[in-house]
Amino acid sequence: APMNLFMRMSLTTHSFLSSFHSHLCFVISSFQMQFMLLFSRQGKLRLQKWYVPLSDKEKKKITRELVQTVLARKPKMCSFLEWRDLKIVYKRYASLYFCCATEGQDNELITLEIIHRYVELLDKYFGSVCELDIIFNFEKAYFILDEFLLGGEAQETSKKNVLKAIEQADLLQEVRGLTILIGCARELFGGFTP
């Protein structure tokens, strides 16, 4: 039936919306971050956070190409890159590259400062952070990132509040650890209270 045709057509609206940008159109642009990658000078990925749904294949391809492009840039060069349709903002801290992708309209400088704030958070949490901290405790780095950026948008920009949230969750770990410790001490020493 012809109506079916239109139902199907409606499925395609997504692609036409995206391909149809004219200034007549109410362009719905987002300032949302698309993804963040951390990789080493050797090109080893240390952290990846994708805020847009992509297939694994696509993710791998993007990562590979982007790492290559960024590593090829010289130190004095601009921290921004146009890459495909995206704006890439990257910065190197010691041996680690932090690299964010946003849409072209976004304000590149503020993205650069988002990276910097994240590094500050890591630094505060780990106590003068180095690449090894992130390699061995990458899940912590993810937790911090999730408290700072949620769904690609800055969630909490107060350093104190982010770390407070993380430490509260961490604290549970310690308390629990201690309880077990006390528990087995009891078992070992039979009835003695420590």
Partner: protein
Amino acid sequence: MSDVVEKTLTALPSLLSLDSQPGSAKLSTNSKLGSLIRGITELTSKHEEEKLIQRELSSIKEQVSSPNTTMRQMKELMVRTIYCEMLGYEATFSYIHAIKLAQQGNVLEKRVGYLAVSLFLNESHELLLLLVNTVLKDLQSTNLIEVCMALTVVSQMFPKDMIPAILPLVEEKLNHSKEIIRRKAVLALYKFYLIAPNQVQHIHNRFRKALCDKDPGVMSASLHIYLQLIQENPESYKDLTASFVTILKQVVAGKLPMDFNYHSVPAPWLQIQLLRILSLLGKSDQSTSEVMYEILDESLRRAEMNHNITYAILYECVKCIYTIHPKSELLEKAAKVIGNFVLSQRINLKYLGLKALTYVVHQDPRLALQHQMTIIECLDHPDVIIKRETLELLFRITNDQNVTVIVEKMLDFMSINKEDHTTADLVGKVAELAEKYAPDNEWFVETMNTVFSVGGDTLQPDIPNSFLKLLSEGFDDEEENKKLRLFAVNSYISLLQGEPSKLPQRFLQAICWVLGEYSHLREDVEPDLVLRLLVKLLNIKSTSSETKSWILMAMTKLCSGGAPLSVPLEVSETYSSSMDTMLRQRAQELQYLSQNPELQARVLPRGVSQEPMEVDSSLSFLDGFVSEALAAGAAPYKPPHQRQEELSRSKALSLEPYGLSLPISMSSCSIADRQSPTLLSVSSGLSGDRTDHSHKGGSTTLKLDGVRRVWGKEGYLAQRESAEETAPVEAPSPLQPLVQQGDGDASYSQTPTPIPECEQEKQQLASSLFVGLASQSSVCLMGKSEQTSQRFRRKLKDPAASFPSSTQNPLVSPPSSVGHLLLDSSISSDLISSPEQTHLSSVDLTVANGEVELPDRDMKGIKSTLLREDSALAAGSSPHEELDRPKDSCLTSHLPAELSGLPHSEITPLCTSPSLDLSSCHVQKDDSLVLLVFMKSSSDYDIQQIQVQVTCEELEVSCVCDSPVEELKSHGVVVCQYFLTVKSPSVYFVLSGMMSHQIPDNSLQETQFSHRIPLTSFLRPLRLSTEEYGTMWLAFSHDTKQNLPLMMDAEEPLTATLKVLKDKLQLHVVEIIGNEGIVACCLRQDQPCLLHCRVHAGMLAVWLRSPIPELPDCLLYHCQRALQES
């Protein structure tokens, strides 16, 4: 027991180390993850790594599926799996276990489980459904940390269909006592809004509450939602402007807690978010903009510190200032900021400065002029990114005087650039510039040659398409056409004589077409020579079979020229047994036609005028065949896009990366904006299977409807003329920097500084690059620098111009800009036709500069009619303006009897001469529009021989009585009727007319006038059944898509919105099913336009199709207006 002890003992060291430093579980050397990582670093080859990880993964797999594995172990395993996935090894088996961990673990294990889920899955993954219950449980937990974790994962991904299940719980959290919970709940709702806006419609006032939250974190989280809402529908949130301004004032004044400071700048992220919101609210809205001037000024003033973050704020301020209704003081300050950026030694700032300059250069070309030397330096910058951005800027300031230099720079860049995306983008831009501003044939053809060679086969298909269209359609000047074609032929013959194997296929195809069509223009070259060149091409191994089809077609055309038959026969012999059916068909055609000159002449007539041929794109002549086939049980045809969709639907999950395809960056130029997914438009490719169209209908014209009309017939010539006109003005001494002339404004005039000798070269370059800008800048500050309506029209469909805020004049609201440009062009034609009206027109010209409100007041006559007539007609009522205009009422009585019952527009005065008053109105008949011109004598004597002529380019005007009115009695009234039908649609039609009559002393008096009629007056409902609609839809090739505002407050938004359109524009609503509706209308029976409307993301996604190229765009404009007014 022993098990517990053992575990505890192994955990001891790490627990102890935790004590001293919270959070730093420094290199847990004994952990399995630690040894895995170390294991990997010790390896030397990728192969070894692969082996190790595979081993690791299979061991993990074994453990996770074992029932004895505790959640604690599971947590550790999951961390290792995350690590392996990060290295690029797939571990899909673990996804389900991640969900299990989130479900069953204690708080800490849950945390890892949720993290793994958020890293492994994306929001369309089917496993995500299994998480819903867990989230539901955790949202209800009394443990705050669990609630936080659930909200965190929900804000990142959640199955759209399951939102209703958790929505009440999330909403409830908006009232939670802990700010962190409220904040996360707001972000979760934001996520819901993004993926399913309709689901959260009812809680919009809750958003307002979040905006007023006492915690700044919650408030700033709510701004994400507002930014999105306002972007979609700024009108509904104007009342919040003052609140946003107040918040920004407080932030700037440092009223927020110190923790929100970043490098001693108060809450910069918040500031930037607010500035973005303000710019959306203030865009083309003077009164709203006025509310924010003060705070913008304040923000500029406060951002003084030399730190990136202050620059980020400044940049956002500048963007805002250039987006909202302009204020000259602020603009001056913003211009200074841009200047500081551009001149900065810091490369990031320089980049941003160039970017800002690119945004504003249309509004303020002088700014580019001011920084010309910096721009020149940036062209030679060692960083390609800076170069690239500079080219973008140059692209925006290109005009017919600097085009050659700029194109040369772009081509230079392409020769060193290796990246495909950039090349494709730049090639498109060069082609666009070449078509718009080409100074001469030679340059044009050569530039296009480079475009084709460099662009290679990644070239967008519409570039060769429009190039060939240009050659075939040509311009009015036959001589010029011939020269251009001849030049192309010459150039291609010499290319083929060189090394054609190096040329890309697309280029070869274009070459073949041109040679086939036009090589006869070169009389000194035997067709045989061309044929031999083509054969040589055929024999090159790398030539694709598609190109071979083109070659054979070109040969077929050449044979008609009486060339010796041996070559073609030989060729057709070879290919008529080809495995490629297309090729075989072409070979057969060649064989047959070359031997049958008579048929050849009929099929491929040469030198016939350029009349566009009709293509029956619905292929109706095949209907019989199709119905027979269907009757015989054949499956109905499905267009390719439909097939593809079904295919992808059968795979159930669409993993299309739509997030990435969304950003069409401002740099992605133009290309392929109109390719209909049905591929029905004849034009959408040069691929071999469609070549038959040009072949079938005769070789002289390529029917390329639907391809952007980039170079209108008059366009090219107009450009050339203006080049000649401005030529004397331009010629600046190469040593003198271009300072725009005669401007007293000190802040802009640049004092020429002494120029060192070495700079001379750069100066010279500058003068050639920035030529033409100075004269443009003498237009008013805010005026568009665009000069020709042709360029406007182009821009309209050009995604390159899509940057929403700054490339446009802030005075112009985007939806109405079509109106202006058409108005603009029509008014300039008034200017020519009626010297008496110059005073009026000069006012009107400000319309061209963007202010649309002004003429509303000044042209009350015409404009008010338009507005009122729309509603009067829609209501089907007779005019109700009698009260205001007693003068008209007497004219109403003069309406011809046969028209008196029909709806008519208000009667408006056209012109006045000393003895005659002319007024007009139009009456809607079912099949046409009748223009009535009332002539009312105001003199005391009779007037003789009155003649009124009305013309309009886009309309067919036929007068009921052609003979002049012999005599008009003193104070009498005569009415003339003109039938109007649309030739080619336009947003407004401007009729120009001339009235002449004899005055008593027998001299002839002439008066000119003009009258404007909107397209809507010609629209009639087209009554169709859904089936008929379906068939027609497929047959139409011209389409336009756009999002329009939806009447959200109505109970049924779609029905209400369509009703507005129906009432205001006289459309026929065919059917509404669910959230889709189909609507039809027509101008005449053979000029239909179909609309497919669908509710999507709180907007009305409208898709228009018509067989008339311009109709969808024009109608869209009126739809937009109708919805905005209501």
